[in-house]
């Protein structure tokens, strides 16, 4: 007779799911010895909040909904989803209610066996340490490597160009192996370099970076009179000027290095190229679209130029350029299109009769545009504006601008937030009054609809008109706690989906069908969080990542929360851009909506982490600004 649990169907199933994959046969068998199979009919309660929980549970088939204590947010677990572990780790009562959404088969492992596995197996433990943030950061790193290594579309970017084309700064500062650490650091400071090649007898023998000084000197308290040879990386990876850029990038990603010495045939170091140099080069080659936009003779040519944007985006994504750079690039093109169309309008209609500025709102203002964005714009008029005399000119200019933008792929705003709408052609004073109305007598619906106006940026004309308005508005908002509480609450009403059900994501009200909307469900909540802090602290920045870091600087947001949200923001936008690149490759219109079934397991898991992080931060935001009341 055999003790056979390890050959059971159960072991095979567990092995396919992440926390169990790394367990040895014996460790897995120990868990299975303590395993019960339970079956729950649809609608039945598996665990109630406040129950003593003695089990770690895994959904074998069906679907389970976790109703998270104290909120209306739900996590839905499909096959392989785990629950019940927070209370085991805490040694407390269950905080969540678990309900079978479908007839479900659930594997339950008794608490002692689960805790023992946690104790002896560090990787298994790490999985449950609920640090979604750390997993997310790892995901971003890994994703970049995958992106960098993937082929295709690189030709359009000049990624096959030689790395020598990147070398701008000549005359490389080098050190010698006999220098002390202190001397090397001083030299790097004087010359303002972050990397110091070390040469002995005319040959490159090593390389020292800022990071080495931190990690191998300061971090370990090394004597500063030690020779630099003790801390340098010996025999560093190098490239020659003819090395293709993409090859260099892949090498750097594989070896986890950020600086590459470029050698000439004689073996001299002629330059140091950083990974940033390479990424910005891949981006700047795509700048020919920006150039084409800026010299367009009419709106037709603008549209021709912007029509290449999807292809350029595909190339950037394939080359592994990070989402922040991709959206800055897309936004740059968007800005250029606005400016050029406005200029062409002015040329046609004659010079503007009074000073004015073109203001944009929302994602373009934040430099976070993706493909398929709507236009959101308005005019701000300076002194001397008289509607009776001047509005006809600006109405015509607005029509020219907005029609041109629509033709160029920036669709008319469904909410009619466009300069063609007289509501959004105002003097700076009138604009200030509108904002004052929102701030001083907020009502929830109006706040919800007005948030994008608080992301504003001048694109053309008298930019000081917009900057003055922005300062006035932010000053009024920052001192109005009631308004801030409305803003925070508006952010917190966003429904963040927490789980994936089999391959589908279910929203709380599932009316939308089984579609994940990355923009409204993942990106917008982070933008909302950053905006709330920006208003509270009168931050100048409009960009979400910059706002998050500004919020940390002004101690409105803990540093680690800001960092985690920024990583999360980067991750979800990267998923969006890769999704859009795939849509483009299939000949579809790029959108923010995707079928969760099309996601890789890797992305699904990390999206789940992202949603958890966002939910936690939304709750913190609510208690910070809205006193925890809903």
């Amino acid at each position: 007779m055999q003790d056979a649990p390890e050959t059971l169907e159960i072991a095979e199933f567990l092995r396919q799911h992440p926390p169990f994959g790394g367990l040895s046969d014996a460790e897995l068998a120990a868990l299975i010895r303590a395993l019960e199979v339970r079956y729950y009919r649809r609608g039945s309660t598996i665990t109630s909040a406040g129950d003593e929980n003695e089990w770690f549970s895994i959904v074998r088939s069906g679907a389970v909904e976790l109703r998270l204590g104290g909120s209306d947010l739900n996590a839905r677990l499909g096959e392989g989803g785990c629950f019940g572990y927070p209370s085991l780790l805490r040694d407390g009562c269950a905080q969540n209610e678990a309900i079978a959404l479908e007839d479900s088969l659930v594997y339950r492992i008794a608490k002692p066996a689960f805790l023992e596995t946690i104790r002896i197996h560090p990787e298994f433990r790490a999985f449950f340490e609920i640090d979604e943030a750390a997993r997310l950061r790892r995901a971003v790193d890994r994703m970049r490597q995958i992106g960098a290594a993937s082929e295709g579309a690189a030709d359009t970017l000049g990624a096959h160009a030689a790395i020598g084309s990147l070398v701008r700064r000549t005359g490389v500062v080098t050190g010698g192996p006999d220098m002390t650490v202190c001397e090397a650091a001083r030299l790097m400071t004087q010359e303002d370099v972050s990397t110091l090649p070390i040469c002995g007898d005319g040959k490159l023998v090593g390389i020292v970076t800022d990071k080495d000084l931190r990690r191998r000197v300061l971090g370990v308290g090394l004597d500063l009179s030690s020779p630099v040879s003790a801390i340098m990386t010996r025999d560093p990876v190098t490239a020659v000027p003819d090395t293709p850029i993409l090859t260099a990038l892949i090498t750097m990603a594989e070896r986890h290095i950020h600086h590459l010495p470029i050698m000439n045939p004689a073996g001299d170091v002629i330059a140091i190229v950083s990974s940033n140099d390479i990424l910005s080069q891949l981006g700047s080659n795509a700048l020919h679209i920006a150039k084409a936009v800026s010299v367009s003779a009419d709106s037709g040519q603008v549209a021709d130029a912007t029509s290449q944007l999807p292809q350029a985006l595909t190339g950037l994504v394939a080359a592994g350029v990070d989402a922040d750079h991709v959206s800055r690039y897309v936004s740059t093109i968007g800005e250029g299109a606005h400016r050029r169309l406005l200029k062409l309008g002015e040329e046609k209609l004659g010079p503007p009769p009074v000073p004015y500025a073109l203001v944009c709102f929302g994602s373009l203002a934040r430099a976070e545009q993706a493909l398929g964005s709507d236009q959101d714009n308005g005019f701000v008029f300076g002194d001397g504006y008289d509607a009776a005399l001047h509005d006809a000119y600006f109405a015509e200019l607005a029509r020219h601008l907005c029609d041109g933008l629509n033709a160029a792929g920036y669709r008319y705003c469904p909410g009619n937030i466009m300069a063609t709408n007289p509501t959004y052609r105002r003097t700076a004073g009138e604009w200030a009054e509108i904002f004052k109305g929102w701030i001083e007598s907020p009502d929830p619906q109006a706040v919800l609809e007005s948030t994008i106006f608080f992301d504003m940026r001048a694109l053309a004309g008298e930019k000081s008109l917009v900057e003055g308005l922005r300062q006035e508005v932010f000053a009024a908002a920052a001192k109005n706690g009631i308004f801030l509480s409305f803003i925070a609450r508006a952010a917190a009403t966003t429904r963040v989906p927490l789980g994936f059900f089999r391959n589908f994501l279910l929203q709380d009200d599932a009316d939308e069908g089984r579609v994940l909307d990355l923009k409204t469900q993942a990106i917008a909540p982070i933008v909302d969080i950053a905006r709330t802090h920006a208003l509270a602290k009168k931050l100048v920045a409009t960009n979400t990542t910059e706002r998050l870091s500004g919020a940390a600087d002004s101690e409105s947001l803990p540093r680690d929360a800001a960092r985690d949200l920024a990583a999360c923001f980067e991750f979800v936008r990267d998923v969006r851009f890769r999704h859009q690149a795939e849509q483009i490759a299939r000949g579809e219109l790029p959108s923010n909506k995707l079928d969760p079934a099309s996601l890789s397991r890797f992305d699904r898991e990390h999206l789940r982490d992202a949603f958890k992080l966002i939910r936690d931060q939304l709750e913190k935001l609510r208690s910070q600004f809205a006193g925890g009341v809903t």
Binding site: M1, Q2, E36, V37, R38, Y39, R60, S61, E102
Partner: protein, 226 residues
């Protein structure tokens, strides 16, 4: 409704078998008794069992493997899952090697029929046995006991196939009562078939699903095979 006198008839058969059993594992099995028909299912200790054989003729086909796992009305104790491999009297026919993925290699740790029964019977003693299409299990265990002990095997059996037909009668496809089909109907996952232990687990899971769907408080008498 439990048929009248079912409990009495079963007890009489069980008692007769006890008397016929010689000293040893089978006698010990009977001495452990069986739960009363009036016992609520919540109080029953059960064992899901599946036998793999190389044919359907109780007297001439070989018993190759017994897989079994302990359970109660609402849970299967997966960690108790065990299998016993049984060495058939004659060499394996090629067809059954293919069907059951049992090779001569795997038979090295197999027991002969008498040793297998001596190991199996104590684990079944006092329990309710659960099988899908229990004719196989009752028939083969009975034939084996008659060969080894010259006495019949009588045990309280629940047949998940019969139970489905009785509790949830409907028109079905010809193969609609097969284990995999019924499991799918209850939202239970697809398992690899023709493995005694996996089939026992699969059958045990089906019973807890059936009991959950029935939504009544049956007794042993209600669920027993008739």
């Amino acid at each position: 409704m439990v048929p009248p006198f079912a409990a009495w008839r079963f007890s009489r058969r069980f008692e007769a078998a006890r008397k016929a059993a010689p000293e040893g594992p089978l006698r010990d099995f009977y001495e452990a008794g069986h739960p009363a028909f009036a016992t609520p299912v919540e109080d029953l200790d059960m064992i899901a069992i599946d036998l793999e054989t190389d044919g359907l003729d109780f007297d001439h086909s070989a018993l190759l493997e017994a897989g079994f796992v302990a359970m109660r009305h609402d849970r299967v104790f997966a960690g108790t899952g065990k299998r016993i491999r049984i060495r058939p009297p004659a060499a394996l026919s090629e067809a059954s090697v293919v069907i059951h993925r049992i090779t001569d290699e795997a038979l090295k740790d197999a027991l002969d029929e008498e040793a297998a029964l001596a190991k199996l019977l104590p684990m079944l003693a006092g329990k309710v046995l659960v099988a899908h299409f229990a004719e196989i299990e009752t028939g083969f265990l009975d034939a084996a006991c008659r060969r080894v002990y010259d006495a019949p095997f009588v045990a309280p059996f629940v047949c998940t196939m019969a139970l489905e037909n009785r509790w949830f009668p409907r028109t079905r496809a010809a193969d609609g009562l097969r284990l995999a089909k019924l499991r799918a109907q209850y939202g239970l996952p697809a398992y690899r078939g023709h493995d005694g232990l996996v089939d026992a687990l699969a059958c045990g899971e089906l019973l807890i699903a059936q009991l959950a769907a029935r939504n009544s408080r049956p007794t042993l008498g209600d669920i027993l095979r008739r």
